[in-house]
């Protein structure tokens, strides 16, 4: 077990970022960099993170960093991964640095899924982190394939009518060696999963729920509390998938072992503003029930539940 004392002191995410207060992506970058260290090449997919790193000629990120086009996370990693192999062969690099892609949910679930899927199928050696704030925040809060049912965005003014998709399961279906979900409210679990990903060869997919204060409409000081409630309510499940096995971790594990009681989804919906409309509408109860059902189905699927129709 690692403890906070084990985290390296060196900061590769420097002061001067232009992120909003309480930005989940910046905190997660800091955490990820501590786990991966200096010998890392970072590819940032078009998103809030392209902006929050600071603008030319300054940068708050002290790693070799390339900002890549919106649809190209997986492909850009493939290029870097092939190139570092060639450089090692040529003797210019002693060993291959970590290749880390950092993308939002838009760049992962929607426009970037083809490129990510291709890279995973080619068994490209890299870590892909999706910080999922369940919307396009950089362009001003539009819906994405990760936006949950009922959530307000500027393009779902009455609340989203469809469920989000489960992309971590899609990545598991690629038979990659490591898939994990993480939360900022459980930083040591996050840190450990990053350390693990670093040691495994092949494609590693890590997804973090990223509650975004301005987009989800809650005070910035509540970012960790909202992250925690997402896990406690089951709306964000913490697990890792390796060698064909899924293992629940941290609070999700405790809930499923019956050590802690799961909070109702409603508690999670109520501490943020984006579900206000749907909750106060006649469809409010139905949306809540549907989300509660989504949670139990997700858990059962992760536990190896096979639907009856198979």
């Amino acid at each position: 077990m690692v403890s906070f004392k084990d985290l390296p002191e060196e900061e590769l995410f420097l002061a001067g970022s232009t992120a909003c207060q309480g930005c989940p992506s910046s905190l997660a970058l800091r955490m990820a960099f501590k786990a991966l260290g200096k010998d890392t090449i970072l590819l940032v997919v078009a998103s809030c993170t392209s902006v929050l790193q600071g603008s030319y000629p300054l940068s708050a990120i002290n790693l070799p960093l390339m900002n890549v086009a919106f649809a190209t996370g997986g492909a850009s990693a493939s290029g870097v991964s092939a190139a570092v192999k060639a450089l090692v062969k040529r003797g210019e690099l002693a060993e291959e640095p970590n290749v880390l892609v950092w993308a939002g949910d838009g760049g992962t679930y929607d426009i970037g899924i083809q490129s990510l899927s291709g890279a995973a199928e080619r068994e490209t050696d890299f870590i892909y982190v999706c910080y999922n704030n369940e919307m396009y925040s950089n362009t001003g809060t539009q819906r994405s394939g990760a936006t949950p049912l009922g959530a307000w965005t500027t393009t779902t003014p009455g609340g989203k009518a469809q469920h989000r998709k489960d992309i971590a399961q899609i990545m598991i279906a690629h038979r990659i060696p490591y898939v994990a979900t993480v939360s900022l409210a459980y930083p040591l679990d996050f840190y450990q999963k990053m350390l693990k990903a670093k040691e495994i060869r092949g494609t590693k997919y890590i997804e973090m729920l990223a509650p975004c204060p301005p987009g989800w409409k809650f005070p910035s000081a509540q970012m960790i509390a909202v992250s925690r409630m997402a896990v406690q309510s089951g709306m964000w499940l913490l697990y890792e998938h390796e060698d064909g096995e899924t293992r629940f971790t941290a609070a999700t594990k405790r809930i499923l072992e019956g050590k802690v009681k799961k909070r109702p989804v409603k508690d999670y919906l109520e501490i943020q503003g984006r579900f206000r409309q749907i909750l106060s509408s006649p469809e409010g109860q139905q949306a809540e029930d549907m989300l509660e059902k989504e949670v139990s189905e997700s858990i059962r699927r992760l536990q190896g539940w096979v639907p009856e129709y198979i």
Binding site: S55, S59, N67, G79, A82, A83, G118, R122
Partner: protein, 404 residues
């Protein structure tokens, strides 16, 4: 080493001797044989490179750019819809200043689906910042792949290069050509030395947000790279000549220019066909010459001004069309000459979607043009009838169908 190979295979062999290290690619007719051969060479241990079988051309270009920025020599090949699909990434490659080389086997863009040759694909990418060269023979294709890295990797240039080669006419025909050995090429083209790259030993941020206060400078510096390439193209050709004893023309390639009153201006294999037309017209006593535009970007402005001034007329052949205007090469030539050389010019549009263009056709069109009898723009081999157009009568029929 002399080999008898198709244009596509020669490109693959040239990429190998050029010391290419990473090749991300996606298949499309008529480019497929390039990447199949590269995959084979690697599998047989004859080529020391990483092949990335990407899932789309957008990804091919993304990986091309990121591999190059990591500090290796990267190569790809595509055509038509593949090139169009890369459009965003073509801008990316130029904007982030990576010296990559990509072969585009010139093919028509659908619909209707058409796998045959024209220049619409690369012409449509005119403003992406890529250097564009159009070759006219198999040997030129080989030599230009090798020279291309000398040009792009020169620290005065650092702009990507697109080598355009006509589909089928060059890509699928077999020719005897010389492919120099890897060592000889290495003496001419030393290993890639990047000016900047993604390196944990010297962390730098690439491609970040640039505000209006700095943006124009980044764009003008791209133009400086393009402008510098004019000089570097000649240097690369001179040194290639010294090393291998061959030269293919530089920014432009002239044929029987000295005393020519009229010039045919063309690119790619149609320029090779035009040589025969020029010979025939010369035999008939007409002082005609040929100016083959090799580099379309940077555009050979000075060369055209000096070589066209004082002539009695030009006929510019385009195997492309800028809809709502005219052939793209025609516009460019006129723009270069405007205010410098006042030469009457006409435009011949031929060979779209692989329609065969013979030297007789070129000769006849040129005869007409140089007698002053051609329209400003002539669709030289199109025989459009009313049936090809959506006529007003047909629209009326649809109208009846759609309105109850």
């Amino acid at each position: 080493m002399r080999v008898l190979e198709s244009g596509n295979h020669l490109i693959a062999l040239a990429a190998n001797v050029a010391g290419v290290e990473v090749v991300p690619a996606y298949p499309i007719t008529p480019q497929t044989q390039v990447i199949e051969m590269i995959a084979d060479l690697i599998a047989e241990g004859k080529m020391d490179a990483e092949y990335i079988p990407v899932e789309s051309e957008h990804s091919a270009c993304a990986a091309l750019v990121s591999a190059s920025l990591t500090g290796v020599r990267a190569f790809s090949a595509t055509s038509a819809h593949g090139l169009a699909y890369m459009h965003e990434m073509l801008h990316y490659a130029a904007g982030i200043r990576v010296p990559v080389v990509m072969v585009n086997v010139n093919r028509a863009l659908g619909p209707g689906w058409n796998i045959w040759c024209d220049h619409q694909d690369s012409i449509s990418q005119r403003d992406t910042g890529w250097l564009q060269v159009y070759v006219a023979s198999h040997q030129e294709a080989v030599d230009t792949v090798i020279q291309a890295y000398r040009i792009t990797e020169d620290h005065r240039v650092l702009m990507p290069l697109m080598l355009n080669m006509d589909a089928f006419v060059l890509s699928h025909t077999y020719m005897d050509a010389d492919v120099p050995g890897r060592e000889e090429v290495e003496a001419y083209l030393p290993p890639y030395r990047p000016l900047w790259k993604l390196d944990p030993r010297l962390p730098m941020t690439h491609g970040s947000v640039v505000y209006p206060v700095d943006f124009s400078e980044t764009r003008q510096s791209m133009q400086i790279g393009q402008d510098n390439a004019r000089q570097v193209v000649y240097e690369a050709a001179d040194e290639f000549m010294r090393a291998f004893g061959r030269r293919h023309g530089d920014m432009v390639d002239g044929y029987k220019l000295e005393d020519a009153e009229h010039l045919i201006v063309a690119m790619g294999s149609l320029a090779a066909e035009s040589r025969v037309a020029v010979d025939e017209m010369r035999a008939a006593g007409r002082a005609v010459g040929l100016l083959r535009v090799r580099f379309f970007r940077p555009f050979p402005i000075d060369e055209l001004r000096s070589l066209c001034s004082g002539r009695s007329g030009l006929m510019v052949i385009d195997r492309d069309f800028s809809y709502g205007m005219e052939g793209a090469l025609f516009s460019e030539v006129k723009a270069a000459l405007y205010g410098h050389a006042d030469v009457p010019s006409t435009n011949l549009i031929v060979g779209l979607g692989g329609r065969d263009v013979t030297y007789e056709q070129i000769r006849e069109a040129a005869d007409r043009a140089f007698r002053g009898e051609a329209d400003e723009v002539t669709w030289g081999d199109s025989h459009i009838t009313k049936a090809h157009e959506i006529t007003r009568e047909m629209l009326a029929e649809f109208d009846k169908l759609l309105s109850p």
